[in-house]
């Protein structure tokens, strides 16, 4: 069986960037079209397991380079199919569905906004505002490390709880502030207690400048307290119906 790597699906008439570099041994990326849908494909590493950091980065680089100019349905990693099956098994059986999804995504790109507290600034806020936290912090400072174990756990627990409450609130307001600039939003619960936001915005290409400006304004307003990071343009990973 020979295998083909599939990065994503685009309209058959899509023009792809020329300098795409895939994760396979040849590095080449091309397309296989059927009807109105084309698969972005490349070769697969054959003599080693897949899943190195270079593999993942290459996959994402290809998909997102395409997304910068064209609607693309991104594949999950690792997306390997039998070479013979690209048309018959992948595209043909789902052709009309793919066309519909690509139409819905046409003219839009994803941006993912992540934000994290400037830890020391916000922790200082918590200490100042919460007497219980403050008292426990002072107690912990005076005890030798061994004796303060349970107090430290308790202190951390209080801090984490307060932090999460604060970031849930601020994160939500942050998303609401940017929502008007997007066609769709998917907000995730951030991972760490000091992560403030992790949200995907589907933005019309014509409004990208507006959206970026709004994010920049928000970044300025939050400077010193929250550090924002904006990923994109990305393929619409968060807006793809699964399977």
């Amino acid at each position: 069986m020979s295998a083909t790597y599939v990065y994503g699906l685009v309209g058959a008439d899509a023009r792809l960037p020329e300098d795409l570099k895939g994760l396979g041994p040849s590095g080449r990326v091309s397309t296989i079209a059927h009807g109105e849908v084309a698969a972005i494909v490349g070769d697969v590493p054959v003599d080693r397991p897949i899943g190195t950091r270079d593999d993942l980065l290459a996959h994402e680089a290809v998909v997102d380079a395409v997304a910068a100019t064209t609607a693309v349905l991104p594949m999950r990693f690792p997306a390997v199919v039998e070479s013979d099956g690209v048309v018959e098994e992948l595209i043909a059986p789902h052709h009309d569905h793919f066309v519909d999804v690509l139409d819905a995504l046409d003219g839009k790109v994803q941006f993912t906004l992540k934000g994290r507290y400037e830890q020391d600034v916000v922790l200082a806020e918590l200490v100042e505002e919460d007497p219980e936290i403050r008292a426990l912090q002072e107690k912990v400072r005076e005890l030798p490390e061994d004796a303060s174990y349970y107090d430290r756990v308790r202190l951390g627990e209080l801090v984490v709880t307060a932090l999460e409450e604060r970031r849930d609130d601020e994160g939500e307001r942050l998303v609401q502030r940017l929502e008007p600039f997007a066609a769709e939003v998917v907000a995730h619960r951030p991972g760490q207690p000091d992560d403030v936001v992790n949200a995907a915005f589907l933005v019309e290409r014509a409004r990208i400048g507006e959206f970026e400006d709004a994010v920049e304004d928000t970044g300025r307003d939050l400077a010193g307290r929250v550090r924002l990071r904006l990923l994109g343009p990305l393929a619409p990973y968060d807006f793809v119906p699964e399977g």
């Binding site: 897949i50 899943g51 991104p74 099956g85 993912t112 100042e128 756990v153 951390g156 924002l228 990973y237």
Partner: protein, 147 residues
């Protein structure tokens, strides 16, 4: 206030994506999201050789609490902290034989108590960082300031 970023744009917001993403971001995007189709074939993935783990090397959820207690503790009297990352711990942990990572005293102690019950005979065990000097975190511990 000047704003210098490593990426394009002159702003307050760090930019990424489109090929200049961090691996953590990429992992979140392409491993958990995106289209999955039943005709995907199974392939050999990395990590196949990781079979067992040492229970002592895992961090319990208590570790998150301790981490934030530590950060809070490090805030000086004027509310400004030191930040600082204990990467040395991480580097030493992971590169020593691949399957190791950070430990906490909590889990060590728990495992040790289990060992005691089986007839070990040792009393309390110190938190890991005091027992294994090689893996002492590079970051300064606030308690050394001896307030």
């Amino acid at each position: 206030m000047t704003v210098a970023t490593q990426r394009q744009g002159g702003g307050y917001v760090e930019r990424g994506g489109g090929g200049s993403s961090s691996l953590a971001d990429v992992v979140e995007l392409i491993l958990d999201k995106g289209l999955v189709i039943d005709v995907f074939v199974r392939v050999s993935l990395v990590g196949i050789e990781i079979l067992t783990i040492d229970a002592r090397i895992v961090v319990a959820s208590v570790d998150t609490f301790l981490r934030f207690a530590e950060a809070t503790n490090r805030l000086d009297l004027y509310g400004k902290g030191k930040g600082g990352k204990d990467l040395t711990e991480l580097v030493e942990g992971v590169t020593e034989g691949g399957a190791r990572g950070k430990t906490t005293g909590m889990l060590d102690a728990a495992v040790d108590k289990v060992g005691d019950m089986l007839g070990g005979g040792r009393e309390e065990r110190e938190p890991e960082r005091e027992e294994a000097p090689r893996r002492r975190p590079a970051r300064q511990r606030a308690r050394e300031r001896e307030e």
